[in-house]
């Protein structure tokens, strides 16, 4: 288990924990980021301040702080 911000572009896995507090947690949830959903890291900006992830067909942009509060279990092959 590690925060999204420690994963590299292309990394895939499953969300195991979301540490964010409401209302951010609720917002992430309504975009499809919930415990148990599949997730893939698509992109980040040069300074890694903003991240893009994909879950169940929805692409979501989030800031470093929010991304760091989402923890995933990467599937084999990604660092």
């Amino acid at each position: 288990m590690k925060p999204l911000t420690e994963c590299t572009i292309g990394c895939e896995g499953r969300i195991v924990k979301i540490k964010a507090k409401d209302p951010i947690k609720g917002r992430l949830f309504s975009l499809g980021l919930a415990k148990g959903s599949e997730i893939k890291i698509l992109d980040h900006t040069l300074a890694k301040q903003t991240w893009e992830v994909e879950s169940d067909g929805t692409k979501i942009a989030l800031r470093e702080e929010e991304a760091a509060s989402v923890f995933m279990e990467p599937k084999g092959g990604c660092k």
Binding site: K59, A61, R63
Partner: protein
């Protein structure tokens, strides 16, 4: 089927109702997550022209559209998109307030077939309301193109409400919607209940019993909804309960229930428990009703690899913006001469047809050239709008917000603020409205305070005119780009200062959906441009024409007959033609200076004198507070008279002769920074209730504009211009 107010552009206002008294009325609320195509569906159903765009938060206030069928008058209310009933941003609050408090007959819940499962989570929340409801699954074309399929019957069976599959883009299924509305409205079918886990139901039951003690919640359906919302930690509902006599008892019970459920489910909050429940239900439903092909690499994935590439993304974005302003200037100036020639021709015709006098003069010297001087810029404005529209329709807007978020954060703003800021390049009025998509009130007010620095399209004519007059044509597009970028950078700097001085605190978190890229429909683009062109021409024909009439009047009266007589005598006495001309123009100049406007101008001139403005530029600047195009039309009127040199036929040449380069740049700076037009100012007032901010907003841009212009004017002076 008839649509009564389809041609109201974006206003959606209701016209006369007198004749259709007998019609039965049905009021329908269109609710759904953002960017699922709610507005598109209404457009496709009724031929209305609601604004659509491929990003979340296009619609930020409710709009009503009326249609008639089979003796029913159906009012469709297009609501802003809302992700969840636990609303987050102000525009979501608009939708939530409507759903909770307004009186309507049924809900059409629009869902995006591409992301059905997360859409269904919201559907379940809506179903808790126990209103009559229809589910419309839109974007079916996109799912089918990828080889997927939605099983409508299965969905209907599992949800227990009517389901319609639609594609607003291909106009499929949308006509069925009205029939279903009427059918559901008239049918007496029992409403469908959604049941949660037994342990949750037990607690809901307890809460309902308690609520029944209060006379407010005798209706079991409503009590159930309130109970569920309380478990979902809905603050609005909690506020309602707070004022009831049963509150103390209820509050105690709620605390108990929260603890029990949280223990039992091992979750942090009951709202998480409900979320998990709905999530599981949605997953199960989608598994049965949606056939999904294995995921392939989509066009969006491939485009994004390049367009939001960590290194290349930002340069590509800047290139697009540069290109836009280049094209705006270059291509836009092609038809300019034709338009100019056409209006000169009109003036000449008027001079030839009408007898000399005040009427001839007000038309040929006042209104026609002034309106013409503004309409000349229609092509530029349309190109700029086309660019902004492409940004909105393709889905690139969200990418730009993504790319700029880190940069904007440094200035105390968040990436999402990019959307209102870019709309500001088009028109400041909708941009102020679009700031509703920012949740944090501080972020929102900062964004609104700096929005005026994003030069709107009405300022474009002033820029193009001044660039044409004072800069080499080969660099015109670049200069235009620099002006717009400088405005944006100034906006960021001011935002940073505001953040440090007045609004301490972190900007709100940034979480945003990135929609797939979509090809904009040519028809929709055409319609948008047509609406913009119509609005612009209307404005030129009414507001600008009116303003220029006032300017003409103020600059032509009072007549000083003594002055005229003395000059006429001199002209008679003059020896050759050249001297006659000279005297004639001297007279005209004197008359202008003695006019009402001349007097006003002389009074305000000292304020602008340090910037190198003469009284005419000063008047034009002040007149620009009404609308920025008026600056151009006023300059056209004021510099049309009192000019002896026959060579300087065009406004551009006259400006060159009368205004120094330094002063022209100072004028550009003023136009860039000072208060936007009346319409924008009143929108700001409507959106911001605090008097302190209103007052601040009225003063600071003008002071800043003057100071910056003064600085630039003197800097150029030092540099030897």
């Amino acid at each position: 089927m008839k649509c009564r107010n389809c041609d109201t552009d974006e206003s959606g206002s209701r016209n006369g109702t007198g004749t259709e008294q007998k019609m039965k009325k049905i009021k329908v609320a269109l609710a759904g997550q953002p960017n699922v195509g709610k507005s598109s569906i209404i457009n496709s159903m009724t031929g209305a022209r609601l604004h659509v765009g491929n990003f979340s938060g296009v619609t930020v206030e409710k709009k009503e559209i009326f249609i008639e069928k089979d003796g029913y008058e159906i009012e469709m209310v297009d609501l802003p998109g809302i992700y969840s009933l636990n609303a987050y941003t102000p525009e979501e609050q608009v939708a939530k307030k409507f759903l909770y408090n307004e009186d309507y007959d049924l809900i059409i819940n629009v869902a995006d077939a591409n992301t059905l499962s997360r859409n269904l989570i919201f559907t379940f929340q809506l179903m808790d309301m126990q209103k009559k409801m229809i589910l419309v699954v839109n974007m079916i074309d996109e799912v089918e193109k990828q080889g997927g399929k939605v099983d409508r019957d299965k969905l209907e069976e599992l949800l227990g409400i009517p389901v319609i599959l639609t594609s607003a883009k291909e106009h499929r299924g949308v006509d069925e919607i009205v029939d279903h509305v009427i059918e559901v409205y008239t049918s007496q079918k029992p409403k469908n209940k959604l049941f949660y886990d037994e342990r949750i139901e037990e607690q809901i039951e307890k809460l309902v019993k308690m609520l029944h003690k209060s006379p407010h919640f005798k209706d079991p359906d409503e009590a159930r909804f309130i109970a569920i919302r309380l478990l979902d930690r809905d603050e609005e509902v909690y506020k309602v309960i707070h004022d009831l006599p049963i509150f103390i008892e209820l509050h105690e019970m709620l605390g108990q229930i929260y603890r029990e459920l949280e223990m039992e489910f091992d979750e942090e909050s009951t709202s998480d428990i409900l979320s998990d429940e709905r999530y599981a239900m949605a997953k199960a439903l989608v598994l049965k009703a949606l056939k999904k092909p294995p995921k392939k690499l989509t066009l969006t994935d491939r485009l994004d690899r390049l367009l939001i590439h960590p290194i290349l993304g930002l340069p590509i974005f800047l290139f697009f913006m540069w290109l836009l302003f280049q094209i705006t200037f270059e291509v836009g100036s092609v038809p300019m001469e034709w338009i100019d020639a056409a209006f000169t021709e009109i003036s000449n015709t008027i001079n030839a047809v009408l007898p000399a006098g005040a009427i001839q003069s007000v038309l040929a010297d006042g209104i026609v050239p002034a309106v013409g001087s503004v309409i000349m810029f229609l092509p530029n404005i349309l190109i700029l709008f086309l660019g902004i529209n492409l940004l909105e329709q393709t889905g690139y807007m969200a990418r730009a917000a993504f790319l700029l978020d880190g940069f904007m954060k440094k200035f105390g703003l968040q990436g999402k603020a990019f959307i209102p800021l870019v709309s500001g390049f088009g028109c400041t009025v909708p941009a102020y409205m679009a700031a509703r998509t920012l949740k944090n009130p501080k972020d929102r007010i900062i964004t609104m305070l700096v929005l005026g620095f994003m030069s709107c399209s009405a300022r474009l004519p002033v820029y193009v005119l001044l660039i044409g007059a004072f800069f080499p044509t080969s660099h015109a597009g670049n200069i235009l780009f620099i002006i717009y970028i400088s405005g944006a950078i100034l906006g960021l700097i001011v935002a940073k200062i505001l953040r440090m001085v007045l609004f301490k605190g972190e900007p709100e978190p940034f979480v945003m959906e990135m929609p797939p890229y979509r090809f904009p429909s040519m028809k929709a683009l055409g319609v948008e441009l047509w609406i913009k062109a119509k609005l612009f021409l209307k404005k030129a024909g009414t507001f600008i024409a009116g303003a220029s009439m006032i300017i003409w009047f103020l600059s032509s009266y009072p007549h000083d007959s003594l002055l005229v007589q003395s000059y006429e005598a001199k002209i008679e006495a003059a020896i050759d033609e050249a001297a006659k001309m000279q005297l004639q123009s001297e007279l005209a100049a004197k008359e202008l200076e003695n006019s009402y406007l001349g007097t006003i101008g002389k009074t305000i001139e000292p304020v602008f004198a340090p910037l190198g403005f003469d009284w005419r530029v000063s008047v034009a600047t002040i007149a620009g507070l009404a609308a920025k195009e008026v600056v151009v039309s006023t300059l056209a009127t004021l510099y049309a008279v009192g000019d002896a040199d026959e060579k300087s036929n065009t406004l551009i040449e006259r400006l060159r002769e009368n205004i120094s380069f330094k002063a022209a740049v100072a004028l550009i700076v003023i136009i860039m920074i000072y208060s936007p037009c009346i319409a924008a100012m009143s929108t700001f007032w409507a959106e911001v209730p605090q008097w302190a901010w209103r007052g601040f907003y009225m003063v600071y841009p003008n002071v800043l504009a003057w100071l910056m212009a003064f600085g630039v004017y003197n800097l150029l002076g030092v540099l030897g211009y």
